[in-house]
């Protein structure tokens, strides 16, 4: 187990995994987009514009999933002092923030034809916005501490406090929303979803997950190189390359 957790071993393992995960991402993405854009029938209420869901919903799933992963990795790093977990947590943050931004942007684009406005204080959009702020805070804290190990530990504590708060924030916003807004506005989509729409949705979710894995491995490799740049294995490797 320790062998896998050593940055040197992980660096070469990640290098081997990246092409595969990237290939799987492309295949799933193409299949998901084809099924979503061409095969799935138009919605009887929303017409063609509902198809943005195939990007919006998986992006929103990923944004929350990555935050939880990041906090989990932070906890592992704090408790067992594993360097690789620190590197993983800090590599997650920009990707998670990007997915959150994607979910917000597509939500806003979807809102224009559906609600007639670019932004509505819908419960899910609002909690997504607050999640985006949490990601920004995490990255800002990490960026302002120079020592990478101290930065990772401080950011891990913040992520853990955030992960306890996310459900609280989510339910508060939902509650607040039902008090302030008529229910018709937040009622988007139909209660039951047709199988022809479920398949592309799940394919897109898997595509995004594999994309996340590929990008996180790339980022981790960079981070490992930067942190270990004074070790012999990194200098040897860099010198052996022309």
């Amino acid at each position: 187990m320790h062998k896998y957790a050593s940055p040197k071993f992980f660096y070469s393992l990640a290098g081997q995994l990246i092409p595969w995960t990237a290939a799987v991402t492309v295949v799933l993405l193409l299949a998901g987009l084809y099924l979503g854009l061409f095969v799935a029938p138009a919605d009887y209420q929303q017409g063609e514009s509902y198809r943005i869901m195939f990007v919006h919903v998986p992006a929103a799933w990923m944004s929350m999933f990555i935050y939880v992963l990041m906090a989990g990795a932070g906890a592992v790093a704090l408790v067992w002092n594993i360097k690789l977990a620190e590197i993983f947590a800090s590599s997650c943050a920009p990707i998670g923030a990007s997915f959150t931004f994607l979910a917000l942007a597509t939500g806003s684009l979807w809102g224009k034809p559906m609600w007639g406005t670019w932004w509505a204080w819908d419960a899910r959009l609002t909690s997504e916005l607050i999640l985006f702020f949490l990601y920004i805070g995490y990255m800002a804290l990490q960026a302002s501490i120079d020592d990478p190990r101290r930065a990772a530990r401080a950011a891990a504590i913040l992520a853990l406090v955030g992960v306890v708060n996310i459900p609280v924030i989510h339910f508060s916003v939902e509650w607040w929303n039902t008090l302030h807004q008529p229910a018709s506005v937040s009622k988007i989509g139909t209660p039951s979803i047709h199988p022809s729409m479920i398949a592309p949705l799940l394919l897109m979710a898997f595509a995004f997950t594999f994309y996340f894995v590929a990008v996180v491995l790339l980022r981790m490799r960079n981070e490992i190189l930067e942190r270990e740049r004074h070790t012999t294995w990194v200098t040897d490797m860099l010198e052996s390359k022309p």
């Binding site: 804290l141 101290r150 913040l158 509650w175 607040w176």
Partner: protein, 225 residues
Amino acid sequence: MPKLLQAIARLFWRDLTVAMRRSTDVLTPLVFFVIVVSLFPLGLGPEPAVLRTIAPGVIWVAALLATMLSLNRLFANDHADGTLEQMALAPYPLALLALTKITAHWTLTGLPLVLISPLLAVQMHLPESAIGTLVLSLLLGTPILSLLGAVGAALTLGLRGGGVLVSLLVLPLYTPILIFGAGSVAGVIAGIDTEAHFSLLGAFLALALTFAPWAAAAALRVSLD
């Protein structure tokens, strides 16, 4: 055990005494609170109906910002002169010492905000029936602001741009308290039963009281490394 209690009592009084010696520090967030709330009628016009609708939100947001401004004082001075390191070395749980400092901080900033809020409520034309709710909601909510803020203050200790950074970290975490704090006052004005608001605020306080000192202590240990 008495020794621990003695240490906590001493730390509490010490924090109050130190703050009283620099009383302008204590007054600044309070004055800020009053000024921010007073700016809204100037910006929106003195229409009582408008002021009444926005009053709960405005007073609560101003309370969040005023707390934010005062967070820097929580650990920074003790960090600068090395007192904090001595506290970390002391044979008492750091989480309890942090909780004591947070309590002192709340006594110096949260409590004055609560006490002056009826004045602002009158200024904003809140109906008399809502003033009690405002005070009670702030009384339950401001300790949570201090507790969560302490984690942010401990994390940003000694960092460049700490003041702005702390607001970035802590303000998103304050949203539930704002929703239920301002919501309870707005609820009373609208004639809605506000028991749920207060139950939830109480639950948040219990949750924050349990976990925040612990997280703040862990953050302090990281910052003191």
